[in-house]
Assembly symmetry: C2
Homo-oligomer: 203 residues x 2
């Protein structure tokens, strides 16, 4: 087998069957592009550097949320969301101790209230939330986030969260939640759920 | 609390405590940079988009590896590596059926032999390896890859892999293995292990 045949063989290995896969699902990032690099008389296939998941920008809510909805409504929303979580397949992620769970929910409610323009209860007690870091011990797949978002939609509806400020609140949690994913099970970028897609369910 | 005070409060929430964390460990990607965006009279903190893990370029071995080391030596290396894996903490990732395990190892040996310039046994039987996709069902943390690489160094030594072609073989497996990580437990980019760092252990 000469060099050209070898090169074709490896190229086939790396390219041809990707074309087959592309009918079934997404590619491994970077699998489409291959370079050839020469080392003296030898040549190598080079698969270029790529990145895994993209964390899109996170736009925090303005303080209008606390002014319009009220800090108590934000807290009520967080509690309702977690009540739904506790009775969902996500429950194991949150441990078995319900008392500890509700204590953590209170802190989360402090955090959300603060971000929405309420008093700085969270920062004063805990400092920076370090959310991704804090979630590393728990396995969070793309699908777990999707269910978490579904339960958020239910919670927004259950507490009748003011529609006027639901969009900027949603924009924050929807984008921020992507940064909690730490277990990849697919090449695909995490699903985006724009507010326009959920608005009807809230009205 | 006026708008400027609010802005400072959120900035403090997002920036000040990162500075404290930076003494303890790496930042969440993107946590250092924050923008302010205006929505009418309101303003929001914006955390820019970032990416998670970077998959560095993968330079495949040239066919010199098979010519110099021989296809049988490449196969022997893969078998030895997996013998070490079977007696390591990585074993549970590979399931409990030892017969199935060794059958899969034969396929892996086909693949490595082919990539190194040997006969196209793997491609003819299986097509594209789809390595990252094939590993999605198994939880692979950064630390698992590090142990896997340690066992590779041992295997290279145990089979007396020819030093002359060890570097280009290592360069391939070391970079390719990063693409198998699917469970993140740290912000840090995966550890790089250049051949220069292991050469002494092989000599």
């Amino acid at each position: 087998m000469n060099m050209e045949q070898e090169r074709s063989a490896v190229l086939k290995l790396s390219v041809h069957n990707d074309a087959v896969l592309s009918e079934q699902g997404p590619h491994c990032p970077g699998s489409e592009t291959l370079d050839i690099r020469h080392f003296g008389e030898e040549e190598s296939i080079v698969r270029p550097a790529v990145t895994d998941m993209r964390f899109p920008e996170v736009i925090f809510p303005t303080s209008r949320v606390a002014r319009v909805a009220g800090v108590e409504k934000v807290r009520e929303l967080v509690v309702e969301h977690h009540r739904l979580i506790w009775h969902s397949p996500l429950q194991p992620i949150f441990g078995s101790n319900e008392k500890h769970f509700w204590k953590a929910v209170e802190l989360t409610a402090d955090f959300h209230a603060e971000v929405c323009g309420g008093p700085k209860l969270y920062t004063e007690r805990k400092g920076h939330p370090h959310l991704r870091e804090r979630h590393f011990p728990f396995t969070i797949r793309e699908k777990d986030r999707e269910l978490w978002l579904d339960l958020y939609i239910q919670a927004l509806r259950n507490v009748a969260f003011p529609l006027e400020v639901a969009e900027e609140y949603w924009r924050w949690v929807e984008s921020l939640s992507i940064r909690m994913i730490n277990r990849r099970t697919t090449f695909a970028e995490p699903v985006r759920v724009p507010f326009s897609r959920i608005a009807e369910q809230l009205a």
